[in-house]
């Protein structure tokens, strides 16, 4: 059953005064992630937007211990934390690695694959703003087709890398896809993941005002459209069984889905997308949605 907003813990682990941008999807997601994780958590964060959010020495806006680490290393750093704590008999901590799409899909993928293959006992959260936003909007392999970035000025020609398929190939016990536009669904997934042993992976859609080009107060509107168009899908995969959750699940029941153009045309980064690319993306999204529906049907929870 989905937690209701009045049931969320009151404790704030993310204080006002973070260095995140106005309208940052990450700050909305992070606030709820940390509420779900609670006290006995050790974080490890690579060089990325979240490092900046955590603040400049000697002040920090986050009330949980964080071990900053090099860009490529999130999953290896988490592995070391888990191993060290285990060796010391300190078994009541949740070890959480949180990285952006750059640190997950690209430079960090080797360490992540290795940790997942070993079924390292930790939670890995990828906050995906679909580009190297901390360094000024260069493309990552998570950048969707058709998007402008400083290194794809003529729009990105390749599809977004399918990180869920890659992580599924590792046979890990739990994976989920979530959005800060649906914070209660996100919260519940983090709580669930926290209580599972082995490698848990979460993939979160993070709208980014400077990177995507939208008015800062449209964060939630945009996040909801991503899900309404099925360009982002809320789901869980537990021991290989996929089920849709929240809004995506309702969409599966109702059969209603908004056209991708409604989502794309609100963002400056898609200013130069061609009608052919939009049609292609609509077709690609439809087919992908169908595959999710088929798997969801088999979950027995449809």
């Amino acid at each position: 059953m989905t937690t209701k907003v009045m049931q969320l813990p009151e404790e704030e682990y993310m204080l006002p005064g973070t260095r995140a941008c106005s309208g940052c999807g990450l700050s909305l997601a992070y606030r709820h992630i940390l509420k779900a994780l609670g006290e006995k958590t050790i974080l490890t964060i690579p060089a990325c937007c979240l490092t900046v959010l955590h603040g400049l020495y000697p002040s920090t806006s986050v009330r949980l211990t964080n071990i900053n680490t090099a860009f490529a290393t999130t999953a290896a750093s988490a592995t070391g934390i888990a191993a060290g704590l285990k060796a010391l008999g300190k078994t009541d901590y949740t070890v959480v690695g949180i990285a952006g799409d750059g640190g997950t899909f690209d430079i960090g993928i080797q360490a992540l694959s290795a940790a997942a293959e070993r079924n390292t006992d930790f939670l890995y959260i990828c906050y995906d703003n679909e580009g190297y936003m901390n360094t000024g909007t260069q493309r990552s392999s998570a950048t969707p087709m058709g998007a402008f970035t400083t290194t794809t000025p003529g729009t990105k020609l390749e599809h977004k890398k399918d990180i869920l398929a890659i992580m599924e190939a590792h046979g890990i016990p739990y994976m989920a896809s979530a959005s800060p536009a649906y914070p209660l669904d996100l919260y519940d997934k983090v709580v669930k993941a926290k209580n599972i042993q082995g490698t848990r992976f979460m993939h979160i859609n993070i709208p980014c005002p400077p990177g995507w080009g939208y008015p800062t107060d449209d964060l939630v509107k945009l996040g909801k459209l991503a899900v309404d168009t099925a360009m982002w899908v809320l789901l869980e995969i537990e021991n290989g069984v996929l089920r849709l959750t929240g809004r995506s699940r309702s969409m599966a029941r109702s059969g209603k889905k908004k056209p991708v153009s409604q989502y794309l045309q609100l963002q400056g980064r898609f200013k130069h997308i061609t009608p052919e690319q939009i049609d292609y993306l609509q077709d690609w999204t439809d087919k992908r949605w169908q595959r999710f529906l088929q798997r969801h049907e088999l979950s027995g929870t449809a």
């Binding site: 964080n66 900053n68 191993a83």
Partner: protein, 398 residues
Amino acid sequence: MSKVQIINGNETAAMGAKLCRVQVIAAYPITPQSKIPETLIKYVESGELEAEFIRVESEHSALTVCISASTVGARVFTATAANGLAYMHEQLHWAAGARLPIVMALANRGLGAPWTIFNDMQDSISQRDTGWMQVYCRDNQEIMDSIIMAYKICEQLHVPMMVCFDGFVLSHTVMPVEIPDQKQVDAFLPPYVPHLQVDGPDPININPVMLADPRANAQGVSCPSYMGFRMRLQETLESAGDVILNVGREFGEVFGRSYECLLWEYRTEGADTILLTMGSLANEASLAVDALREKGWKAGAVALRVFRPFPAATLRQALSDAKHVVIFDKNISYGNEGATCTETKAALFEGGLRPTITNYIVGLGGKSVVAADLEAATIKAVEQKGQVSTPQWIGVAV
């Protein structure tokens, strides 16, 4: 009750780590060190060593696992060589800057390109700027003893150390090694106390972004800048010599072999010609000195035991009566000369000493270099009166 075993350098290094009761090991195989992780995993799986052994996918991850495990308070160990060390490079800087007492066994091997699997010191010498302490072993006994001492030194100073030994020459050569008694090692090594508590009452943001100037915290107290933290690392290394000597002396008192020195001297009394080396080459240098002395030369040998922090004052002292210093480097800083040569010249300059200095580049990629080579090179160096200022290479005739 200690006993002697005939073991190679790799087995020695693994056994040293076991005696130090390391708690987390992350090491990736690379020739000529692969036997180290293999031996350690045998100890772990048999229960002889209670440790978490992480089968990482790369050296970069191996050092990262050590960094975060050490941060949370576990005693850690890794081992590598050559390109593996190079792959760790950014994390070497990280480990030292993060002030972590990580101990690494380093089986010296040359770097590609082109490929070599054999010995030279380019790998560790290339990392001398990172803030890691470096010791070089002449034989397998020194590997064992240096690893044990390393934990005591590192955990006092909160600085990491690499214990270097020549790949194949020592890693694969069996020698008698006296194995220290476990109880004695336990008494010698106090438990590791990290300088930050991750599970303390207040959460902490470890190694965050820092600015160039000191900044006040929420209580108005001025906190150091990036440069301030980096200066502290240097200050620690500048005073590390005393700690290294004290631990070396204490080791002698407990185990019977003293390391109360930063360099080794062989027949340097009254010597006017000194052969300077590091690592296993020191053994050949001693033989060369004997041969030269037979011929009536007043020759002696100095071998650096500690390369970082560089023992400038001690080296000046050892070379103060030398008219000729012949420096054999199993490495070269391309575009200049061998690293030991440069650093020795700098040390001598400080003391206003001006012996002739001749630099030989030897043994790269495992090229054999023996006492006769060192002897001949020394004779040549003195004939040249030190007037050849660029490095000369031994053993490259096609």
